[in-house]
């Protein structure tokens, strides 16, 4: 066999080895193009990318053109955020790998206020609070076996909060209310000092459980104190929890004024909290200094040591241990 024929056979072999792989894929590509051909161009993208692209189109119509947008995506879905950024352009975007990245950027003044949550299935305009609530709802409560109070019709929670610190600190109130009675209980919760009121019912022999009492009831992320009143005596357990660190502290029922906090060593970020649970003004004496408090006031002061407090108010101290756990000093 001549060299020329050898060359031809070798070239044919090479070509066949390429065509065996390329031809079927080329046919598939052309067939796919044929099925897309009758559709408008945007519909072709929808066909390619599914409902995800439809949600991007909706966002493109909704979002302001001149404001930067925060794209928050779970770390496993960052590619989706990158593509969302691509299709939303010229709407400017900034990608945050997870909700924590967004909240940790809180001190950054350029952090976009408008939030879009992106994952592999869709992209939607939302609020940070909603994303947080979604995450908390999908997670597990810290306290699985709450320590209930004796049945009572009125509780005062000296601290009611739904707040985020730097990741992973996630402060909230885990609440469980049990109605041991044969009739349903009407419950009225008032969040002070904002004065927001919500009512709800607990069926006879029923239980109401909350993973984030303040946010679930009032839809806000804030801190204050709370009065809970019920038509029936309820057994309740309210825990101040740090979901991010897995710590929880049972809150006392601050039904009466108390200010005598026993001296104890303090950790970092120590604060004195004072609440005025009454409907009238009150005076608190703090290390000899007289401070007037509005009705239902809730104040906090940074402290270096446990102060001497007096007055017709409720006072307590918090500080943070080195491991991030919040330590409470309650009044006697």
């Amino acid at each position: 066999m001549s060299g020329r024929w050898l060359t031809r056979i070798a070239a044919a072999l090479l070509f066949v080895s390429l065509a065996v792989s390329t031809l079927p894929r080329l046919v598939a590509i052309v067939n796919n193009a044929r099925t897309l051909l009758p559709l408008p161009y945007e519909a072709r993208r929808e066909r390619q990318m599914g409902p995800w692209y439809t949600s991007i189109e909706k966002l493109r119509r909704e979002l302001p053109r001149k404001e930067q947008i925060a794209l928050i995506a779970p770390p496993r879905d960052l590619d989706s955020a990158v593509f969302a950024s691509y299709y939303l352009y010229p709407i400017r975007t900034r990608i945050f790998a997870g909700r924590n990245a967004y909240r940790n950027a809180a001190p950054d003044r350029t952090r976009p206020a408008i939030v879009v949550a992106v994952n592999g299935a869709r992209a939607e305009r939302t609020e940070y609070d909603i994303l947080r609530d979604r995450d908390l709802g999908a997670g597990r409560r810290i306290v699985t076996a709450p320590e209930f109070s004796a049945p009572t019709t009125s509780f005062v929670l000296p601290l009611a909060a739904s707040l985020d610190g730097p990741s992973p600190d996630t402060f909230l109130i885990e609440a469980t209310l049990v109605n041991p009675n044969a009739v349903q209980g009407e419950v009225r919760a008032t969040f002070w000092p904002k004065g927001l009121v919500r009512t709800f019912t607990i069926p006879a022999h029923g239980t109401a459980a909350y993973y984030d009492f303040v946010y679930q009831l009032f839809g806000i992320m804030n801190s204050g104190w709370m009065r809970v009143e019920s038509s029936q005596p309820l057994r309740a357990a309210f825990y101040f929890a740090n979901r991010g660190r897995g710590g929880a502290t049972l809150l006392p029922n601050a039904i009466r004024a108390a200010t005598a906090i026993a001296p104890a060593p303090l950790h970092r970020d120590a604060k004195l909290f004072v609440i005025n649970p009454k409907d009238t003004r009150a005076i608190v004496i703090l290390n000899g200094e007289s401070i007037p408090l509005d009705p239902h006031a809730f104040i906090s002061r940074p402290i270096a040591s446990v102060p001497v407090v007096s007055g017709d108010v409720y006072a307590f101290v918090t500080s943070r241990e080195l491991n991030g756990r919040t330590d409470f000093l309650w009044p006697q």
Binding site: L6, A10, F15, L26, L36, D79, F83, T93, R94, I95
Partner: protein
Amino acid sequence: MIGLLVTVVLFPLVGWSLGRRSLGEAFLLGLGITGSVLFIAGVVHVPLVIAMVLIGVWGIGSGVWELRRGIPNLRIHSPVATIVMIIPLVALTFAAAVTPLNDFDGRAFWALKAKGIAHERSIDGPFFHGGTHDPRNQYPILIPLDGAVILSLAHSLDDRQLRWLYLGILAALALLVRERIGRLISPAAGAWCAAILVWIPQFAVELEGGALSAYNDIAIAAFAAGAFFELLDAEGRKSEIRFGLWLAFLVLTKSEGLPFALVFLAIGAFVFRKRIVTPAVITFVATAALIVWRLRIPAGDEEDVFRLLPTIPEKLHRLGIAIAAFPHHMLLMPRWGIFWIAVIIAAICVHLRKKPYPQITQMSADAWLAIAVIASILAMYTAVYVTTAWVPSELIAVTADRLLMHVVAPSLFLLALSARSR
């Protein structure tokens, strides 16, 4: 349609402004000149719109002037090979016209940059300063600048306007290979090499890096092909200038373009001798412009390979996996068929042939040149795999085939050379 029109008319005309070249070479030269001039204009803060208009007027004017002397002869050698080459290109043209862009890098980096530049008419505006999420902010932007020209003329930021550009680069590369190998070896060899090129799965149908994606690896392969053929044609008129231009295009197209260009310069020094100064100066200007631009904008999450070089000694344990990377991927049949096996056999055959003395000397020199380019580039990429801050196996999995694309022209040349030697 505007995207198609700009792609097939503007870039070849700009390329022809450098003299009568084949259609493929003119397209690639036009692409490179447009992107490079706009880039340097952007670096020295000439408004991009003005630079675009000047390029358009100058390119079209001088291109048309050049064409008045006559359209280059389009002689169709080897009709079978030509038909074989045209079939996938026609199929891909239909697909590009209909199917939206759907790859990763194209949307995440390259087409996004084209949109950003077209929208802001600037290469260091808010887009490049965190105005929007641009993951590889300091990636070179020659091709995105070409894309921005298309988008600007189309008055649209829709990536459907860019689909022709990337397919056009593959077609131009095929035509360049066909014309140059046709001239250097034989028209039939050129025609068959071009046909083989467009049937390689990695070029034709691969989602990540193929002609239907907006990756820049075919562009790198094309510019490297241009530089390689100038090395073989070093005695040609102004070949050293064109060699320098191809190297500048490499530098401004992708991050690996700079070391690629340095390798070419080192090899070119043996070929061009004293004339290497011209390409070195052109490459230096492009590199300096790139560095100045990079200093002005924040870095993205791209890897700085040069900074990682001193870490080589502590990463020597990766040498095995890095060295095995390319041989392993060369044998991936769904992406390369037996292409690389054929290239290796061809490289051996070229040195075992029996031909008269003067011919064998020249062929041997050309073969060694091709082998030197392929080996040096792959050795350089292997070194990158050793130094990388990524997990080497993961990086290799997603890049090795695309890096192999870069040396396709010298590889096809070896195939053609071995066929001739029989």
